[in-house]
């Protein structure tokens, strides 16, 4: 699965460059404007059909039996009683023919099967049922008798490496060798430092908790399978389902129009889709299989907990001399990324850097990519350590960061960035936030103390190929836009339509959008990693430009003018030299003869010798009650460098959401596992605390530094999803420190943790 996240590993497949010339946009008419979403009405009126809403005639409902134990061997399964339950049409286990399907692959190795006889975390799949109703399916699960032999389990990555620790997989509990990076001479760097800070920081495990639970509806027509899936990428699901069922890609159609959030947890096919397909095959009926909320908590991914040891050295003037960053995390019971060190090696100029990332198996639900995988954790540690350093040096934290803004990406062979807005984010953000004034303001003389904090971050991946998009101009001048990209709630459809409108001068309501369907749209990567805009919009633009060129060429023949002299404007082809010479688009004979003009756009390769990164600086103001440990975040400001903002409204929405998510990491969210059973304690939305409206500050501002980047791609936009959430938690923790002088090393900053520290009862930094 991790192999599919190729964009996180820097290796992107090459696709041919687009056939058309696309100079950077000058002044734009539609792109960049605060255009309301093209599907806003459908989304708010309830007429949008999400996969969870989807129903087919004669459809069965399926449910999955999961291990109640953290680690066990399944000795036997007796399904006889379940099979006789009312409404039950099929029961499958690992013994059922056709279920011997390898699962959780990494580095060419499978770590489990669809139904493994060894369960490695609470929630691991054991059996499944299809029945006439959902209640009947769940009732039948209870009638399945499973004999488990419980095994010792381990929840702490450090302990998982100790001699005698329970072996979760064959051989070592490590997922591969620790990944190491080094440049310069770290020892010499620390020796040359005037000030050194050192500390251990940890982040709690977070659950994605999207509004729409994970699941699919599946239907067979002969040996062809159609899947309605709640997913961030239909093509990823198509590939994985086809591989699991040994079908050609052509026999698996995946449709993912609307979906209720994923945050990285829906970048892959779930076992549920394949289980549903097997049940559907056995029963010759369509099958709907959606997880319950509890199952999502246990078994649909998480942001792994990390422990990070940071050491930073600097000269008196703030020049960094050395950074050491040692990270320990766990992909969970099955492999997934848990590295956090990238920021430490790339965010600031520093000649001597050493990082180490360890990733260890534990008996808990497997991690999945979660909005900026590894980066908010890394920022939590690095940016608090930078705050400590500023304090030690007597420097303003904004100034310390500005002193070390990098010109090149040191982690990636000192290649220059196509654009770097870190300095602008820090400077403009500080100005917009009123940083200098806020720093001067008194902390308060009562029990409640006020403080401000800053943290910055970058996200290192600016999208890339492959993406293929088709734009069709109909004879009446209206347009069909065909793209495989999923709109995961970020406004992708709207932005694609804006790009088409920009190039073809068509009003947005004259554009039909056809998307996220492997049967009718073209391949693109999943929507994740802040890469949808930078990957897909250039392909949309190329397709639209090709249509325009075909149209102008056809018009030029009719108007007997050179193509270069023609432009599109308000449904007309107009001569630039003599605007009185014009022709309605609908009157272009070439279009009327063919009834359609088709443009095919591809995403060309990224610029060579440069890297694309987005930058951010977040500012927080908090009030801390020193008596009770209560924290109120009173203000947040996000200054973002995403280069071009494609749509002010969707951009602001993304950043606001990123801030709230970052606030969750910093203030409220924490998976709790029972140390004695390995079972999750807070498997619900009351005990697992997502921030509420009352936890989010009334003043939450979004500022874009609006850099012009003509090299990142032909849309000039770098993406925004991840960098909007990377520094938030660290900024809040730094503000808490500013208010009360206490460094909270472990996320989240809750009243229990903080009041204990205030009373001298907790771990002090």
């Amino acid at each position: 699965m991790t192999d599919l996240l190729y964009w996180l590993q820097g290796a992107v497949p090459e696709t041919p460059a687009p056939k058309v010339e696309m100079p950077p946009w000058g002044e734009t008419k539609v792109v960049g404007k605060p255009v309301p979403r093209v599907d806003a009405y459908e989304r708010v009126s309830g007429s949008a059909v999400y996969p969870l809403d989807f129903a087919l005639p004669d459809m069965l409902h399926a449910a999955i039996l999961r291990s109640p134990h953290a680690h066990a061997v399944v000795k036997s399964i007796d399904t006889s009683a379940a099979e006789k339950m009312p409404g039950v049409r099929a029961v499958i286990t690992g013994k059922t023919p056709g279920t011997d399907i390898p699962w959780y692959r990494s580095r060419g190795k499978s770590y489990s099967k669809l139904f493994d006889d060894r369960v490695r975390h609470e929630g691991d799949e054991v059996a499944a049922v299809a029945a006439e109703t959902r209640a009947q399916a769940y009732d039948a699960l209870k009638a399945i008798r499973v004999t488990y032999e419980e095994l010792p389990f381990v929840l702490d990555p450090q302990k998982a490496l100790e001699a005698g620790a329970p072996a979760i997989h064959e051989g070592t509990n490590r997922y591969g060798d620790p990944s190491k990076y080094e440049r310069g001479d770290v020892a010499a760097g620390f020796a040359a430092a005037d000030a050194v800070v050192e500390g251990t920081y940890s982040t709690a495990c977070e659950i994605h908790a999207p509004m729409e639970v994970h699941g699919s509806v599946v239907k067979w027509d002969g040996n062809r399978l159609t899947v309605w899936d709640t997913t961030q990428g239909v093509f990823v699901v198509q590939q994985q389902v086809a591989a699991a069922l040994k079908l050609p890609l052509a026999n698996v159609r995946v449709i993912g129009h609307y979906m209720g959030g994923g945050f990285g947890s829906k970048l892959e096919a779930g076992k549920y889709t394949v289980i549903a397909a097997l049940l559907a095959k056995m029963t010759a009926r369509p099958v709907k299989l959606f997880l319950s909320r509890e199952e999502v908590f246990l078994n649909a991914g998480n942001r792994p907990a990390n422990t990070m040891k940071v050491k930073i050295g600097a000269k008196k003037d703030g020049t960094l001399t050395a950074i050491e960053f040692l990270s320990m995390g766990s992909g969970g019971a099955y492999p997934n990324g848990a590295d956090t060190s990238f920021l430490a090696a790339d965010l600031y100029t520093c000649p001597n850097v050493k990082t180490l990332d360890e990733n260890v198996a534990i008996n808990a639900g497997r991690a999945r990519a979660m909005r900026a995988p590894g980066f908010p954790q890394g920022a939590w540690a690095l940016e608090q350590a930078m705050d400590e350093l500023a304090k030690k040096l007597g420097m303003d934290p904004v100034e310390l960061r500005l002193k070390n803004v990098p010109k090149v990406s040191q982690r990636r062979g000192n290649q220059p960035y196509t654009s770097t807005g870190l300095a602008e984010c820090l400077r403009d953000g500080a100005k917009e936030f009123g940083w200098a004034e806020a720093k001067k303001k008194a902390k308060g003389d009562g029990a409640v103390k006020r403080g401000v904090g800053v943290a910055s971050g970058l996200w290192g991946y600016g999208g890339g190929p492959p993406a293929t998009v088709v734009v069709k101009l109909f004879a009446d001048g209206s347009v069909n836009l065909n793209s495989g990209a999923a709109d995961i709630g970020t406004g992708t459809k709207t932005i694609m339509a804006q790009v088409v409108a920009e190039e073809l001068g068509v009003p947005l309501d004259r554009i039909q959008i056809e998307h996220a369907d492997t049967g009718t749209t073209q391949y693109t990567g999943p929507s994740g990693g802040s890469k949808t805009v930078p990957s897909d919009m250039p392909a949309v633009r190329a397709a639209a430009v090709e249509v325009r060129e075909k149209l102008l060429k056809a018009a030029a023949e009719e108007m007997k003018l050179p193509v270069d002299d023609l432009a599109l404007s308000n449904g007309e082809v107009v001569s630039k030299q003599d605007p009185s010479k014009k022709l309605l688009v609908t009157a272009v004979p070439g279009l009327q003869r063919q009834q359609v003009l088709v443009g095919v756009g591809t995403r060309g390769p990224n610029v060579e010798g440069k890297v694309i990164s987005m930058f951010a600086a977040h500012f927080a103001e908090v009030e801390v009650n020193t008596k009770t440990g209560e924290v109120t975040v009173t203000r947040l400001l996000a200054a973002q460098d995403s280069a071009r903002v494609m749509n002010r409204l969707t951009f602001e929405c993304q950043v606001q959401g990123g801030l709230v998510m970052g606030l969750g990491l910093g203030r409220t969210e924490e998976r709790v596992l029972d140390r004695n059973t390995g079972k999750m304690c807070n498997v619900n939305w009351h005990d697992y605390k997502i921030p509420t409206a009352l936890d989010v500050p009334a003043e939450q501002k979004v500022h874009s530094v609006d850099l012009v980047d003509t090299e990142c791609n032909t849309a000039g936009a770098k993406g925004v999803g991840e960098p909007a959430t990377i520094p938030t938690a660290a900024a809040i923790a730094n503000a808490v420190h500013d208010a009360v002088g206490i460094r909270v090393h472990d996320s989240p900053v809750t009243p229990p943790r903080l009041v204990a520290l205030l009373a001298g009862r907790g771990k002090k930094g």
Binding site: T626, E630, D674, T677, V683, D695
Partner: protein, 323 residues
């Protein structure tokens, strides 16, 4: 998944009592707790007895002695926005306002809030805990951040209600209807410590239902409040809290009732604090001494000793805010 159950909606209290006397019957007031418990299979129900048809369980009215009668079906939202309650019994109004979320307060009732089941994650989760008739209290050796520092014994839940502590502080009385007729129980005596019976939270017998809560008249020179500390701004239970009902005379505390929430299996009255306050002016020194007295005898576990400074802080702040 909800279990399969019979649903009855009696028209009179007598009918309701009869229906509730059947084995496996569960009372349904606002349902905000009941439905969750049934869905999560915390307990089963053979019959769900809706109280919504019982007109006599509704409404707020004055009593002859200038007190207040609150029907058990009065919603938390009604209490939170009731001007007279805010004026005469502020701790209750604030307790009701501090509970849950606006949606839940619109639906949740006062009687239900008193009778809700514990929020302990072992009780609610897939654990055969002591309160569900299983063996150990998982919290003792487990994850006990949100558990009791007072009054635990074999079970370490904290009482989840934000109205119970104010009602104990205000010396409210619960009227209860049951198979043997009606009876009155001071709210202070309504709850059961685990040492007495760790499988139940109230003294209600099968078939019994709270019909109304009676508030005595406001105290002369009365002051009060409810302070709740929580991990999240809404939809969260108390990490620790305090209800105060003070009577002031000549700038000094004449009498005080101080009841903690979120720290014990029942609303936890702290007579030591009341003694400290009696006859004293509400100043910093009094507040600090009272805070110290509030946590005397606390027995924290591995993960909840933060409750000691938290409760001290809450008591101190609460007292000073009334000064």
């Amino acid at each position: 998944m909800l279990p399969s159950f019979r649903y009855v909606r009696p028209r009179t209290v007598a009918e309701a009592v009869k229906a509730l006397s059947e084995p496996g019957a569960r009372a349904h007031a606002g349902g905000t707790d009941l439905v969750g418990c049934l869905r999560d299979e915390v307990f089963d129900a053979k019959a769900v007895v809706s109280l919504s048809g019982l007109a006599e369980l509704k409404g707020i009215s004055a009593t002859k002695d200038r007190g207040l009668r609150l029907g058990a079906l009065t919603t938390l939202a009604e209490i939170a926005r009731h001007a007279e309650i805010a004026k005469g019994w502020p701790a209750l109004a604030q307790g009701a306002a501090a509970a849950a979320s606006p949606q839940l307060r619109n639906q949740g009732t006062l009687g239900g809030n008193l009778c809700q089941r514990p929020r302990c994650w072992y009780f609610r989760g897939d654990f055969a805990c002591a309160r569900k008739g299983g063996e150990p209290c998982y919290a003792v050796e487990g994850e006990n951040t949100y558990h009791a520092i007072f009054g635990g014994s074999g079970c370490y839940i904290v009482h989840p209600s934000d109205t119970a502590s104010p009602l104990v502080a205000l010396q409210a009385t619960a009227r209860i209807a049951g198979p043997k007729g009606t009876r009155s129980v001071p709210v202070e005596k309504l709850f059961v410590l685990p040492a007495v019976d760790h499988t139940r939270e109230t003294v209600l017998e099968p078939g019994e239902v709270i019909t109304e809560i009676l508030l005595p008249p406001p105290l002369a020179g009365g002051k009060g409040l409810y302070k709740k500390v929580r991990a999240r701004g809404a939809w969260d239970f108390a990490l620790g809290g305090v209800a105060l009902a003070l009577s002031m005379k000549d700038g000094k505390v004449w009498s005080a009732r101080v009841v903690l929430s979120g720290v014990a299996p029942i609303p936890w009255r702290v007579p030591e604090v009341e003694k400290v306050l009696a006859g004293r002016a509400l100043d910093a020194k009094t507040a600090a001494e009272a805070a110290e007295a509030a946590v005397k005898g606390a027995e924290p576990m591995s993960g909840n000793d933060y409750k000691i400074p938290l409760v001290k802080g809450a008591v101190e702040e609460a007292l000073l805010s009334l000064a």
